[in-house]
Every structure is written in C-alpha cells, then in structure tokens.
C-alpha cells in the first residue's frame, strides 16, 4: 500500500518532470539551429546536412559541378519563406535537405521550409489543409489526384512561369505523359518522375528452363505460352510463369487491354468498355492462365506476397512493372534479371507513362519564389542531384542510371519506350478514378476465386461503375 503510493507519486513526478526536461532540450536545440541560419525548420543539421548514404562532401562536390538554370522570374527583394510538402521518406529526405541547403545559398532571400508528409497519408493530410485554406507553396501530386484539384480550381497554372524561363526545356519532358496535369488549356503540374511500364524477367529461371529471354519481338501469346511452360513446383517452392495477375487499377487499359484493342473506360472516362469483346478477350486469356494453368499467383497466394511480389523474391519468371523497379532489383543479389519492351498484342504495343508532379496551389502567396524552386528542382541538374530512379527529364537518364549502377542499355531502352509508344492514354485520372477501381476490384476478385464467370463479372463491373462516372463531370 505504502509502496504503491510512493510508486504512483514517482510516476506523477516523472510525468511532470519530463516536459520540463524536454523543454530544456528543445530550447538548446533551437538555439543551436537558430544561430547560423535563421531557419529552425530543418532538424537535419542545417549547416551540414548529410548521412552515411548521402555524405555532405560528395553532395557539395556534385552541386558545384552542376550548372543551375536561370529564370526571368525575379528573386524576391526581401526575405520570403516557402513551404514545401513533398512525400517524405527516410531514403530521400537527407538528399532533399541537401538540395534545399545549396538552393538557399544560391537564393539568400528564399527560406525553404519542408513539411513532414509520408506518402501513406499525404492526400488525407493536404485535402484537410485545403479545406482549412492553408496549403503549402509547393505541393506533391500523384498523377491520379491532380485532375480533381484542377476541376476544383485549387491550383495555379504554370504556363506563364514556363514562358518566362527559356532554360526550362519542355522538349526534354515526354509530352504524352503530361495529360494528367493539364486542364482547360493550361498546365498545372510538372513531373518529378516519369516512367513507362516494361517487361522484367528472371534470367536464372529462363536459363534453367533452357528458354530464350523475352525480347522486342514477343507477343502476349508468346508470354502466355512461356508462362505456362515455366510454371512449376508447389508450396514455398512454386515458380509462377508471370506475376501479378492483372486487376482493376488505373492503368489496366494501357498495360493489358489496349494491346487487344480493348479498354477499361473510354478516353473521356465517361463510358465503361471492359465488358466489350476486345477487353473481354484479353481478360479471359488471363483468367484462363490463372484458373486453368495456375501460372499466375491466385488471390490466396498473393495474399502474403502482395507486400513483396513473387517476382522480386525470384519466384516468378516475368512481370510487367514500372521502370522504377530497376533500382530495387539492382540492389538484390538473389537472381539476375533482364528487362525489355512490353509484349505486342493483335492491336499493337502499348505502355503507360505514369509519374507524380509538383504543383503550386492558387492560394500561395509566394508563387514566384515557389517557381524559382521548382525550376531548379525539376531541371536536368536537379534530377542529377537527386539521383532518382525514373527522371522525367530524358537527358538525365544516362547519368542517373550510371550513378545507381544500372547498365547503360536500360537508359536507352526507357528513352526509346518513352519516345515511341508510352503515354498517359487509358490511365484513369478523373476525380472518380479511385471509386471506379474500388468498385470494380471486389467483383474481379470473385472472378479470380472462380465464384462468378468472366461474362458475369464484367457485366457486373459495367453495371456498378457506370453510375459512378457521372462524378467525373465536375461543375
């Protein structure tokens, strides 16, 4: 009893003392940070941002070796603070802090304050801020969000800024990938990354099966045939011919249906086409591959694997995925991999070009400073500095591929695909896109479980999705 009261008291004292102590810690920290740069915004050492992965000296060296583009948009005459909300993760944060550090050196009147915003809750967080009327000056946008913001007049057009910046080479950015960010004749977003979908394959598994690697000549029929041949084993040792199974997702059309002349929705996203013969034919072939040949992972098999696709663990021979996958693949040692063009279908060869963008909210009070930042962040030099795996600027591909230890021919491959046939056509982006996917997916899952036939599933998807499409017409 006595003991207990003392314990409780100790706990209470500790609880009361903790804020006091940490408040001390706080002021000390702030003082340190506040002295040289009047920022306090960066908690990563503001005077020398760096980490084991991104040493400061190397960053400084690289920064000094690059030429930074000019713009006729003038620097602010007195100090302004711009706030940036881009997806924050542990891999890129230090690098971005380094970029900000050197940017501030170049633009002493622009203070940069970067917000904490992980991808998972990004949209929720900033839609809420939008409702409160407090968006940052520069905002990250996934390609599937921007049209909604444009329709609701949340964003500022960038065309004037681009016109005032001759250095900002628009020809270096793939035009067929900009549709997500355009509206009523203006451009509202500029891509931070852009990548086509490619066919990846596991060289070890092909060698073991004694089969030739996929190449530019391959058709979907050949992929199906090979997938059937390469499926083997069971349980934890099972090898799938292809992974994952196509399912309703924003670029289902571009990845799997257009090659057969089919589509999920029409280009205006106002009509469902998935139940029409060409799409039905394509999806039927996949459903056979799943239910009859078991050459793609079933729903049950994918359940555990969804976080880590079997292809990435060496358990699938082929996969269609974005070019950004190369970075991850190049870091693993479990198997050797190759990559080539996506297969052709009877109607031709198609790939989706998808990427995210930076936008400036219409409510921003510092649009010019925000533009100066975007101009440099999204320049070829900016891409080279950030060393990301799928630069939207085509001139940065070779450099970045080399920096990340990728073979030079993949840079050539990606640039060819982007120039020839990758585009935003058939990638859902209008306001109802998420609802369309969420509505179609459960029905398709029942088809994957063999509970309903292909015809019934597609008819049901059409019936359920059609009324939702009215929401794409925003007043």
């Amino acid at each position: 009893m006595e003991m207990n009261r003392r314990q409780m008291l100790a706990l209470a004292v500790a609880a009361a003392a903790v804020p006091a102590l940490s408040a001390c810690g706080d002021t000390r920290q702030q003082k340190q940070a506040a002295e040289p740069v009047k920022s306090g915004a960066q908690v990563i050492d503001p005077n020398r941002p760096g980490s084991e992965a991104w040493p400061f000296e190397a960053a400084e060296q690289l920064n000094n070796s690059l030429t930074w583009p000019k713009t006729n948009v003038p620097d602010p005459a007195s100090k302004v603070v711009i706030t940036l909300a881009m997806t924050t993760d542990t891999v890129t944060e230090v690098r971005n802090a380094q970029f900000d550090y050197f940017f501030k050196k170049r633009h002493p009147n622009i203070e940069v304050k970067r917000e904490a915003a992980p991808f998972d809750d990004f949209l929720t967080k900033y839609m809420t801020q939008a409702a409160g009327g407090t968006l940052p000056d520069v905002l990250y946008n996934h390609y599937s969000w921007t049209q909604n913001l444009i329709a609701n007049k949340i964003l500022a057009p960038l065309d004037d800024f681009i016109a005032k910046t001759p250095d900002f080479d628009m020809a270096d950015i793939p035009q067929p990938g900009l549709g997500y960010f355009k509206g009523d004749g203006s451009l509202y977003g500029l891509p931070t990354d852009m990548a086509p979908k490619l066919l990846f394959f596991n060289k070890d598994l092909f060698d073991k099966a004694g089969l030739d690697y996929p190449d530019e000549s391959w058709t979907f029929d050949k992929v199906f045939e090979t997938a059937r041949k390469m499926t083997s084993g069971s349980g934890a040792g099972k090898i799938y011919g292809f992974s994952p199974m196509p399912k309703p997702e924003p670029d289902l059309s571009a990845m799997y249906l257009k090659a057969y002349g089919g589509r999920f929705l029409d280009a205006a996203e106002s009509r469902v086409m998935i139940n029409e013969p060409p799409a039905k034919k394509a999806l039927g072939l996949w459903l056979d591959l799943l239910l009859k040949d078991k050459a793609v992972p079933s729903l049950a098999e994918l359940q555990l694997l969804e976080k880590v696709d079997p292809f990435k663990t060496g358990h699938a021979a082929m996969m269609i995925n974005g070019a950004w996958l190369m970075l991850e693949l190049s870091k693993q040692k479990a198997f050797t991999w190759g990559v080539t063009h996506v297969p052709k279908g009877p109607a031709g060869r198609f790939s989706s070009a998808v990427g995210s963008a930076l936008v400036i909210p219409a409510s921003s009070q510092n649009k010019e400073a925000a533009w100066i930042y975007i101009n440099e962040f999204l320049s070829a030099s900016g891409y080279k500095f950030r060393q990301i795996s799928a630069p939207a600027r085509q001139s940065a591909w070779e450099y970045n591929a080399k920096a990340m230890g990728l073979p030079p021919e993949v840079a050539t491959l990606v640039k060819d695909v982007m120039a020839d046939y990758a585009s935003d056509d058939g990638v859902l982006r209008l306001p109802a896109n998420k609802k369309v996917i969420d509505t179609a997916k459960p029905v398709w899952e029942r088809a994957m479980l063999g509970k309903i036939s292909l015809d019934d599933a597609l008819a049901e998807i059409a019936a359920k999705v059609t009324p939702i499409l009215a929401e794409n017409k925003v007043a």
Binding site: M1, N4, Q7, M8, L11, A15, A16, V18, P19, S22, A23, G25, D26, A41, Q42, V43, I44, S51, E52, A53, T83, A85, T88, D89, T90, V91, T92, E93, K113, R114, E115, A116, A117, P118, F119, D120, D121, T124, T128, Q129, A131, G132, G133, T134, A236, L304, K307, V308, P310, K312, T313, G322, W324, L325, E328, K331, Q332, K333, A334, S356
Partner: protein, 301 residues
Amino acid sequence: MLLETAAKSARTRPPGTPMTSAQAERVRQIRRSGAYILLIISSAVFLLPFLWMLTTSLKSDAENLAFPPEWFPTSFNWDNYVKGWSGSLPFTQFLLNTIVITALSMAGNLISCVLPAYAFARMRARAAGFMFAALMATMMIPREITLVPKFLMFSELGWVDTYLPLVVPEFFGVALYIFLLRQFFTTIPQELIDAARIDGASELRILWRVMLPLAKPAIAAICLFSFVGNWNQYLENSIYLRSMEKITLAQGLGMFSGEYVTQYNQMMAVALVSMLPILIIFFLAQKTFIRGVTLTGIAGR
C-alpha cells in the same frame, strides 16, 4: 447483499470431507503447474509479434525480401538500429516531441476524468441520466467524421502545427476513461462512503481518501491507456503537425515506407525502440493492477 448471496450459495453446499495437509499440498502443486503450463503456452502465442519484429529488425536489406519468410534471423545486422535511428531522420527529436505530447495529455486525462466519473457514479441529479447518455454518445460517433470539422475549428484558432489541438482537449475529460472509472467507483461499498459522511467528510475528501485509493488499479489502467494511446496516436498528429521538427515517433515510423519501397528492417528496429518505454511503464505499473487494494484493512469488515 453480495455477502448474502455468497453465504447463501455456500451454505446450500455440504462441506467436503477434510483433506490431510499433504494431500492439500499436492493438489495445490498440480494446480500451480497447470497454471504455469497454460501461461507459458499463451505467452508463446503473445510473444510472436515481438519475435517477428526482432527477426525483421536484424535482417539485411537483401533478406528483407526472402520468401518464404524466416522466423529466425540468419544474420544479425544490429547496425539497422543505428541506421534507422540516426541515419536519416532526427528520431531523438521525435522522441522528445512524443514525450511532451504524451506527458501533457496523460496529466490532462488524469486531472479531468476523476471528478466527472465520481459524479456519474455516486451523485444524484435530474440531468445525470441525460448527461451520461451524452457522454456515451461521444464515444459512439465515429471520430473520422468529426475530424475535419474539428480541424477547421482549430485551424480558425490558429492552432495548426502546434501541440495545442492534441493536448488541450485532453484536459477536458475522455469519455472512455470517465466511463471506466465510473464503473470502478460503483463497485465500492456504499457503507464506506456513508461512514465517511457520518464522520463529516466532504465529497472531495471522500473522493480523495476513500474512492481513489480503492480505485487505484483503475487509475493505473487509465494512465496506461492514455500513455499508449497518445504515444501511438497517428491520424490526428499527421493532420495537425506539419513541421518536421514537431512530429512524433509514430509519424516518423511512417517515413520508412516510400511510395514504392518500404525498409522493413530499419522500420522494425525503430518501432522496437519506440515500444520500449511503453513496456517499461507497463512492467512497473502492472504491480499496481494486482497489489492495489486490500479492502479488509480499510473497511474493517
């Protein structure tokens, strides 16, 4: 009344034949080993997540992807802890922030839940029933739908990107904790209160000297729930806190998953470290759940 039921039911049953002390000791021993076996089996099941996190936290980057998943580590990459904690983001700062928010909220909850709970448990008023219903109702409205209106309200006050919206409401009672305490207050024998009243004790004194000591396990439980809840709070924090130097551990953990890749090993390493304070607090507090009250001493009944 309860004593009566207990006594009545006991009386209807004929007393068993007395055992020798050796027999009694054997029965007790068998029963004890049985309890231990059950405890160990269930502990194994409950320990799984911890082991899983530990294993994952020790994996190399390449092993992260291994399939089928391994339950025992094949290599011991302790440097994941260092890399995760101080390799990129200032987790020490996040820890301090989390401590500030948690400590203030906990203090607020404790201060503000006791009085209403006592009132709901032991006082009569015409509005009591209605107010109790309102209290319960606040628990039943999904918080997702009041989140945005609340945000707009605090945004008008200029409280966004401060700790105020996370801490200030905590000083005005939490329905769940009030309900919990009220349930505990109702179990305390009325005779104790009547005796104190006859001695001329004020309501506050009764609360302080009679009710609180007896409800100590419940208070400890509230401390624990408040601590854990605030420590792991995610959605609210993520909406209100915008500056990097103000965010909490739970938010920092979310940053191990990028748009395409998640660093599970470092994430689990940091998650384990941030769990430790909760486990330590629990280990200390659990004695209070158990050893809190000996009614006989106080009541003399």
